[in-house]
């Protein structure tokens, strides 16, 4: 799994791909923590390349959301596929992690 980082209008976009699971989740959470620690607390996680998420991945997103909010920022997710959207609903996490259709929509609506 690779994490590509870019910036749009002052928002850091972290794009990941493959499976967001017990192996990759700690790395993504660490990257979010580093990004917030560097002073960028507005983060979009681009999930377009993620074909599978498990509960470890969900935990990393919630942990990242808390880290960002503690720094007066926020974390949004974009371009989630069917499996990710379904799992978010089943775990009720769609209430606090609203999936934006695209990265552009997530950044524009800030």
């Amino acid at each position: 799994m690779q994490i590509e980082q870019s910036e749009r209008d002052g928002v850091v976009v972290l794009a990941t791909s493959g499976r967001f699971n017990m192996v990759s989740a700690p790395r993504i959470k660490a990257r979010i923590d580093e990004t917030v620690a560097a002073g960028n607390a507005r983060i979009v996680v681009d999930l377009a390349g993620v074909d599978f998420i498990d509960s470890s991945g969900l935990g990393a997103l919630i942990g990242g959301l808390k880290t960002a909010r503690q720094a007066s920022g926020d974390l949004r997710i974009a371009a989630a596929g069917d499996q990710v959207v379904t799992v978010l609903k089943l775990t009720n996490l769609d209430r606090i992690l609203t999936p934006f259709d695209t990265v552009e929509a997530a950044v524009d609506g800030w």
Partner: protein, 136 residues
């Protein structure tokens, strides 16, 4: 082999999780009639149970065996390992939205029609069933 039964032996380590993903991909390509949503959710539940064995199984990296049957009305699988007995906390309650862990088994429960844990002859067995779409 009739093409409907699958059997995989390996170890409860992250690479073993990848092998399960690959097996479930093969199930999908072997069964184009299988509803993609059913298989996607079943895979999600299987991986959560397997994650649980990887994270909490003892000794770490125990040997496991996964069997799966594609039946006309359901998907049925068993994950067995020869480690020590699991502390079988079949938690069904989804934790609050701010929790960073504890969703694996509740998520599996939400997906599966049947889920059980049994220890028989020093082997742990997790049994998982999901009815197929339109087969009620």
């Amino acid at each position: 082999m009739d093409g409907d039964g699958y059997d995989l032996s390996g170890f409860a380590v992250p690479e073993g999780i990848e092998e399960l993903h690959h097996l479930l991909e093969r199930v999908g390509s072997d069964h184009p009639d299988l509803d993609g949503g059913d298989l996607m959710l079943f895979e999600t539940a299987v991986i959560e149970i397997a994650n649980n064995v990887v994270e909490h199984g003892s000794p770490p990296g125990v040997g496991w065996r996964f069997t799966l049957d594609v039946l006309p009305d359901r998907l049925e699988a068993t994950l067995s390992d020869d480690g020590n007995a699991h502390v079988a906390d079949l938690a069904t309650e989804m934790p609050g939205v701010d929790a960073e862990s504890g969703r694996g088994l509740p998520l599996a429960h939400a997906i599966l029609d049947e889920i059980s844990y049994q220890r028989v002859d020093d082997i742990n067995h997790w049994h998982m069933v999901r009815s197929r779409a339109g087969s009620s």
